[in-house]
Symmetry: C2
Subunit: 301 residues, 2 copies
């Protein structure tokens, strides 16, 4: 059962118990282009108390650098080395875990943020934002030639999704059974300030469906992202808390990594999903309305 934070002491106790704070972004810090109330003050309070602050996001449309720009625009303090995105995790997975030889390439179903992270890891890629693949013209399989160096297909959220990209990715995967199939994340929906849209998992789903095969996922709840964090930052899981708005990504990610978890209701999940008559099988350790609730700590002696 999840504990609802209520008294000033509840919040203070949590702040005192954890040295490292991992935050999901969409639905926790902001929603679309709007900062969630109180978030800036709470992050400042944690920094003043020398807490390590880390941002773990499944959004693979942005590189860490462009994420930093988003934090800046919204007036939230963040540093590139505090940001871990699923596009970065995919690039690290390809370069460090798969150790793809340098002459091999990746076919990208995704946007420029994913391309940027691949480039930064020295990975060659095709597809992605290439105008030739961003078209609604008919795809002619009979004139398509496979690049023999493509050894992986990586999918992220791609709002330029089309049949040419899907067909090329499908060819690489079906004709070469050794070709790796990677998804940055499997979020079903994508929150914007105007509401939900289909998420990254829905972009890889046509391939999953047509191939009858699941991708390796590098985003939450998979532990690949936490492996990336661990490789760069030292933290004690006993004194680390994961704050998120989604049960099946953020909270499960924290649980998979042996972290304490805190759910907020400023994003996807509603309170009834954990306290109602048919609660989710994934229950956080703690829950509160929003991150802004922690402002009470400042007002407490």
């Amino acid at each position: 059962m999840s504990s609802r934070l209520a008294s000033p002491e509840d919040y203070s106790k949590l702040v005192n118990s954890f040295d490292t704070w991992l935050f999901d972004c969409d639905g926790v810090l902001w929603r679309g282009d709007h900062v969630i109330d109180g978030v800036v003050e709470v992050l400042e309070m944690l920094r003043r108390r020398n807490k390590k602050v880390i941002f773990v996001t499944n959004n693979a449309t942005k590189s860490r650098k462009s994420y930093k720009t988003k934090f800046d625009q919204l007036g939230i303090e963040a540093h590139v080395d505090e940001i871990y995105g699923s596009a970065y995790a995919a690039a690290v997975y390809i370069s460090s875990i798969l150790q793809l030889p340098k002459h091999k390439k990746v076919y990208v179903v995704g946007q420029s943020g994913l391309e940027e992270e691949l480039r930064d890891e020295g990975i060659q890629y095709l597809g992605g934002t290439d105008p030739a693949d961003n078209t609604l013209e008919p795809f002619d399989l009979s004139t398509f030639t496979l690049d023999p160096d493509v050894a992986a297909v990586v999918c992220g959220l791609d709002t330029q999704i089309n049949y040419t990209k899907l067909s090329k990715a499908f060819q690489y995967l079906i004709r070469n059974p050794g070709c790796h199939f990677i998804a940055t994340n499997e979020d079903s929906t994508y929150p914007t300030s105007a509401g939900l849209l289909p998420g990254a998992g829905s972009i890889s789903s046509p391939l999953r469906y047509s191939l009858g095969k699941s991708p390796v996922c590098t985003g939450k709840p998979a532990s690949t992202m936490l492996d990336c964090v661990k490789a760069k930052v030292h933290f004690d899981p006993q004194r680390t808390i994961m704050v998120g708005d989604r049960l099946n990504t953020d909270i499960l990610f924290g649980q998979n990594g042996g972290l304490t978890t805190l759910l907020v209701f400023t994003g996807i999940t509603t309170e009834v999903e954990i306290t109602g008559p048919e609660p989710s099988p994934i229950i956080p350790d703690f829950h509160t309305q929003g991150l802004g609730d922690f402002r009470i700590v400042e007002r407490t002696p």
Copy 2:
């Protein structure tokens, strides 16, 4: 266990045992734009013997009328009232089973063949081939207004699939829980003469994934298509055979309808899938290399 047709007597016996012959098209009669060897002669032989010939296809990109044109171009005799497509089945399902009131509309993720069948059934629709929805421009949810008359989303194979269409369909389904979610068919792949491409099931899969909800499917193996045939043609299931190249659509469709089934290997399925060490759970009554094998009947006294 499936019986392999081998001797002239096997083929003659089958021809004599069945009055109504249902055929899948892609992979049985043709592959892409090439007629499969012997098909024209065998269909002529069946017609000469007064067999009822019916074509049941999951391809929802073509209306029955444009299917007829394809038969004509390939030199295969067929009549519009012998052709049953999944787009037609979807239109009949909406008008006759759901009985959608005339002022209600359908949002289409699909091509002109599906639109034509809806129009012929007097169903109003949005989306589909509308240029406004066939774009790779960013989709702006904040300026999108739901048409309150949309009461169903219908998905077929759509090689113009894009994020705007998916997002609109998603909005209709998520904001109105009573909105019907229909797929013409759930084929994982789509056969062309140059090879396989992602099929209609992969076009509806982003919605299935993002909504966590399955569509009602009107194509094979669902019985909706056979209900359409039954409404128009009298046949005795005991003396009816379904000929197809796919186990999980054609053969299962025949079995669901209580028909005898015959598998051919000119399409998707290979012989090892039914006779190998790990056979499919879906086994036809009979199998033969291709429909052209029945030419032997003509040569038999």
